[in-house]
């Protein structure tokens, strides 16, 4: 009777541990999946931002110097000459410099469609800001979870790569 009880107890403990570990692994897996999703969202937001900036640059509504400046910054985000974070930060700086020029907005008032293009760039830039915040947030929580002793000991993270933070200058308005 006691022997049976002991066996039952051991089986129960093993089952509980097993369930717990698979729950932990599953949680980690879900975190990694969310990192991937957040990264895709960030990529899409960045692409939307450079496309809208390019559309504004090639609209013929801006002065040629501002057009060229923006077009050059956009091409920098696409040609892979520089690391992505630096190129995207450059685009932010180019947009910030262009939009903060004196007379920039008043000069566009009379132009049909200009304000819509600028508004689209601003909306896209705000989305980049949000998407990056969310991505870095889930990346931080995932890294936290990966650092737990049990996760490290049993390699619960498997082959999933450690998510890297995406750092860039994304403040469109001047601080």
């Amino acid at each position: 009777m006691t022997l049976l009880f002991h066996i039952a107890a051991i089986v129960l403990v093993v089952v509980v541990i097993g369930v717990y570990l698979s729950w932990r692994a599953g949680r980690l897996d879900r975190l990694h999946a969310r990192v991937d999703a957040a990264r895709t969202a960030l990529d899409l937001a960045l692409v939307r931002r450079s496309s809208s900036a390019y559309e504004l640059a090639s609209s013929g509504l801006l002065d040629p110097a501002t057009s060229l400046l923006l077009a050059d910054a956009v091409s920098g985000t696409k040609n892979g000459d520089r690391p992505r974070d630096l190129a995207e930060s450059d685009l932010t700086k180019a947009l910030r410099a262009s939009f903060s020029q004196p007379e920039f907005r008043p000069s566009l008032k009379a132009e049909a469609g200009a304000q819509e293009l600028v508004a689209e760039v601003e909306a896209a830039a705000h989305q980049v800001f949000l998407a990056r915040k969310f991505y870095n947030d889930v990346a931080a929580r995932t890294n936290d979870a990966r650092r737990r002793p049990l996760v490290r000991l049993l390699r619960l993270a498997g082959n999933a790569p450690q998510p890297a933070f995406f750092e860039m200058d994304d403040a469109l308005a001047e601080e």
């Binding site: 640059a57 090639s58 013929g60 002065d63 040629p64 110097a65 501002t66 057009s67 060229l68 400046l69 077009a71 050059d72 910054a73 956009v74 091409s75 920098g76 040609n79 000459d81 520089r82 450059d90 700086k93 180019a94 410099a97 262009s98 020029q101 004196p102 007379e103 920039f104 008043p106 000069s107």
Partner: protein
Amino acid sequence: MRIGIACPYSWDVPGGVQSHIRDLAEALLELGHEVSVIAPADEDRPVPGYVVPAGKAMPVPYNGSVARLAFGPLSLNRVRRWLKDGSFDVLHVHEPAVPSLSLLACWVAAGPIVATMHTAMPRSRVMLAASAALRTAIEKIDGRIAVSEAARTTLVEHLGGDAVLIPNGVATRRFRDGDPLPGWPGEGGAIGFLGRMDEPRKGLSVLLEAFEILAPQRPGLRLLIAGPGDADDARERVSQSYRDRVHRLGEVTEEEKNRVLHSVDVFCSPNTGGESFGIVTAEAMSAGAAIVASDLEAFRMVLRGGTAGDLFANGDAADLARVTLALLDDPARRAELSVAALDAVREYDWSVVARDVVSVYETVVLGRTEVEVAQ
């Protein structure tokens, strides 16, 4: 002629394009032309009388680095007003592919336009990014000038067409007189070098090797080296016992550069290659220095085949030591070289270069009216 010059970079910041424009404008004024330069500049900073400030420049990323440029509607209006008020016979824009005043001027102007390309742009990046506005502006240019073969090649490859090659001038007058640094050149003689210390093609290592040979023969001889780059590394290439005879100045201002040129008995240009014109050598010639240079084609040309400066076998430290020693022992030869160098460098002076630029102006204005505002 009434000449309007557009400068894309901030006048307040030192740079190659800015000093080119300054020297050109002053040479043109001296030739009796009317010159107005529009440039980004702080309103409260003093600028020469011929400069029209177009407002503060913004630091922006462009072409992989940060440049201080002026753009936007306000700059456009200022350029427009400047063109209207100036009623120029010719508009001369510099670096029109940079998003700043030159491009704006090109875009709003109608009439004879000359453009000078300074840098070789990497790949077709600019052209790839080219908006319709850039193409429209560039197509209006009647005469193109490139300051170097590399700039010309870029232009030909990316834009098609051709350009006249007119290299930078040398502001020979700026270097004519100068006070030696205190204690220089000294009793034992001094050799000078200017240029990047860590750029192998500038040839500093050849000079240091030659100094190793010379130092035991001339106990008082000193070496004065100035230029950006890691100087410690350079000095370590000289034996411990001679090291305190190598004086390093790091990066120097224009004025200090001039003083360095007047502080030495022999100026050395040991470049091993890549020197298309040798601006530093030409400046040393303007200071009347006795020059020892490697026998690169460019130096051979500037130094009139060796009559305006002694040549040594490129890369050969022993030969450099031999030639330098002979020159150190022969003050009469040094004086002779100095006079010859001053004479030879005259053909590279801005006054001569400015005349070449004026003939470009005269060609593009043929049968045309003055510059007007089109857009």
